[in-house]
Symmetry: C2
Subunit: 158 residues, 2 copies
């Protein structure tokens, strides 16, 4: 599944005002995963580096987007909510921040989709990496719960 | 230590643009702890509830502010950074979001301050509660590291 990054970015910024405030853009959204980025100025803190809250929010948005697009590609309309997450902040970020969430390993994904189809509800743990200037700056792990719904899909209904 | 909430809110919104974008305000900042709030509209997601990234960011900002004000009251100029955090999202939030970070237990605080004075660096784990419409909606735990500096204090230098 590949989406035009501009359309997806526009969708995220329109649906989630904080994504617009953070000036989030989409670098890539394809079978390998989702890569979002956010520039320093709207995300800066009093040290001149990226605010931890922006790091955490960008990672969460990236992981959520990666899962949502994959669920959409499976044609399973669902609501996807974050249940818990943890972030490790490895170093200060003084440049553009990127978050990458790789497609989950196939066995995890298949179990998740199969449980969701069978029970109408399933949980998946997703990891994301935060990068800046070629370095790993933070790591994110989030546990998401999907619940089947009759809602419109992200791609078609966005 | 008690600060005029308006001054503190203005300081946070000026230093951290994301706090302004989230329309964060200060409900209280006194010996009991720090309470910040953020309204729904700038923090909404596509479900009409508060975006998880806003919940996480408000909690982090509240915990950071509570620690920073206490360090300031101890007259220990220091840089305070987040090292890791975890958030549990208990229920969707469809109203104003509040985060409260209580003053740390006295023994923990005394050990933290004593280590910081002695070694120039100390770590403290801080908890915050997220509330909305009288209910607990999420919990936050963050591990912060303080490093002594010759910087201006938050209160005097803001």
């Amino acid at each position: 599944m590949t989406l035009p990054p501009n359309d997806l970015g526009e969708y995220l910024r329109r649906q989630i005002p904080l994504a617009a405030a953070m000036d989030v853009s989409v670098e890539a959204a394809d079978a390998a995963g989702v890569r979002l980025r956010a520039p320093l100025p709207p995300n800066v803190n009093h040290h001149g580096t990226v605010f931890g809250g922006s790091i955490s929010a960008l990672a969460l948005l990236t992981a959520w987007t990666a899962l949502h697009l994959r669920l959409d590609a499976e044609a399973i309309p669902s609501e996807l909510v974050i249940q818990r997450n943890s972030v490790e902040y490895l170093r200060p970020v003084a440049d553009v921040l990127e978050a990458f969430c790789a497609a989950p390993p196939a066995p995890d994904w298949e179990r998740f989709v199969s449980t969701l189809r069978r029970r109408g509800r399933a949980r998946l743990v997703v990891r994301a990496e935060l990068l800046s200037a070629g370095e790993l700056v933070a790591t994110f792990q989030g546990s998401f719960v999907a619940t089947r719904s009759e809602g419109e899909s992200l791609v078609a209904g966005g």
